[in-house]
């Protein structure tokens, strides 16, 4: 990645900041790269960029520092016995109150890939005969959602003021990509379509018809239905519920529960959490190889033998080609 590519990517990931703040962050990262170059002249541009964390994680960190600040301000206000608005919050409130609900809608043909970048906007998507969209919110002139089209790729940047997006997805869609900060995503995909979703605090609920799926959230819950060929679902504190896995699944959370129902005897499942419970229901007739472990919780896996461990409980069963690995540190683990 070049410096410019890194900064461009960072710019698009920092969409929740206002323009001035965003420019300041970009200048500072550019200055940092110049400092790295001066201190380590033997490094080339790509190596300097490689030393930096991915733009998405830098942006997530700016986001969480901002959210933290807001709650501290509220706390200070309460401690003083009064109620204090931040100026920005007040301005936003008034702007919001005086604006009317607006809407943009349309349809298109030949759409193969849909990419949506949103802040607090909820998304719902259903399969249909063709592609269409309807987005509503309270935006000023000049701040309306931006829609661009390049070949088969349809892109929507919802801006800060969109509230809700409804999509109808065409048959033959290759991929739906959604990135939101606090909006919920509720999507049902056409056959074979893939989906990638990233949210900070939104919940995700989706029905997949044979495509691949990637979902990442910080605190949202994730619920997946239908059949997925290859799925990777992760969350920091959300619960994960996956029904109908037919291929490979990797589901990981830190403090949430993980619940998986396999639809296919040959499913390959990797489910883990730190402090929640894990339960995996195998498909009927599955002869999966099982490894179920917990450091301080209970482990149950009928038909499996107890494995010797340094700490905690572990159940093992040989088999295959299907494979199930289920792990928790302090929660209970069950495979049945």
């Amino acid at each position: 990645m070049t410096k410019k590519q890194y900064l461009d990517e960072l710019e698009s990931q920092l969409y929740f900041l206002d323009e001035a703040a965003r420019t300041d962050v970009l200048r500072e990262f550019e200055s940092h790269m110049d400092d790295t170059q001066a201190a380590r002249p033997e490094l080339d541009e790509a190596q300097i960029v490689d030393r930096l964390p991915p733009p998405a994680s830098v942006a997530a960190s700016y986001y969480s520092e901002g959210a933290e600040r807001q709650s501290k301000e509220d706390e200070r206000g309460r401690k003083k016995g009064g109620f204090r608005f931040s100026l920005g919050g007040m301005e936003r409130l008034f702007r919001f109150a005086r604006r009317d609900e607006r809407e943009l809608s349309g349809d298109d043909v030949g759409v193969e890939r849909v990419e949506c970048t949103l802040v607090a906007c909820d998304v719902s998507a259903v399969p249909g005969d063709g592609f269409s969209y309807r987005i509503s919110g309270r935006w000023d002139d000049g701040d309306e959602p931006r829609i661009t089209r390049q070949g088969g790729v349809w892109k929507l940047d919802g801006g800060n003021d969109a509230d809700s997006l409804e999509l109808t997805l065409p048959p033959g869609l290759v991929e739906l990509i959604v990135s939101t900060v606090s909006g919920d995503v509720n999507a049902s995909l056409p056959e074979g379509a893939n989906m990638a979703i990233r949210t900070v605090s939104g919940d995700v609920s989706c029905t997949v018809a044979g495509g691949a799926l990637t979902v990442g959230t910080a605190s949202g819950d994730v619920s997946v239905k239908g059949s997925t060929t290859d799925a990777e679902v992760s969350s920091a504190s959300g619960d994960l519920s996956i029904r109908g896995i037919t291929g490979r699944l990797k589901a990981g959370t830190q403090s949430g529960d993980v619940s998986v129902y396999c639809a296919d005897p040959d499913a390959d499942v990797d489910a883990s959490t730190l402090s929640g419970d894990v339960s995996v229901h195998l498909a009927e007739g599955s002869a999966a190889e099982i490894s179920a472990e917990s450091v301080s919780g209970d482990v149950s896996a009928p038909g499996a033998r107890r494995g010797a461990g340094l700490v905690g409980a572990k159940m093992l069963r040989e088999g295959g080609p299907a494979r199930v690995s289920a792990k928790s540190v302090s929660g209970d683990v069950s495979v049945r």
């Binding site: 300041d24 962050v25 200055s31 790295t36 930096l52 830098v58 600040r69 830190q254 540190v329």
Partner: protein, 156 residues
Amino acid sequence: MPESDMFSDDLGKALEKWRSQSRKGFLELCLLACVRGAGRSYGFAMLDSMAGAGLDVGEGSLYPLLARLVREGVLDAAWDTPPEGHPRKYYKLSSFGERYLERLGQERDKDQKAYKAILSGACASSERPRGGGGGAGSAGGPGARLIVNYKIGGLE
């Protein structure tokens, strides 16, 4: 082999989680102390000097944290271009920041003393008399000595 793998894997994850929880406030304290030590400093130099002190901080943590501290009025920031070099964003403590850092240091010292007292048995002393055993009631037992230590710690 898989057992020990699992153990080290999970231990690593648990440690990672604990670190991220415990480090946030500590990092803020170190960062402010670093800025005070330098008088005025910029991101790259802070990372460099903290790494030199043995504290590895990532750019992804540092810059967002600096931005928040500026918003909260703890740090003042200004862009400046040194005679030889490129523009840099320089940070220094505000007068509120000076007072804030002083208090943070005191809080940290207090916590550190409490932790030391616990390590040297301040908690064990409350359990031991209930357990009974031979020397119950003897005022010269290890528990009594540790309470004294703890009190001295608290007075400093």
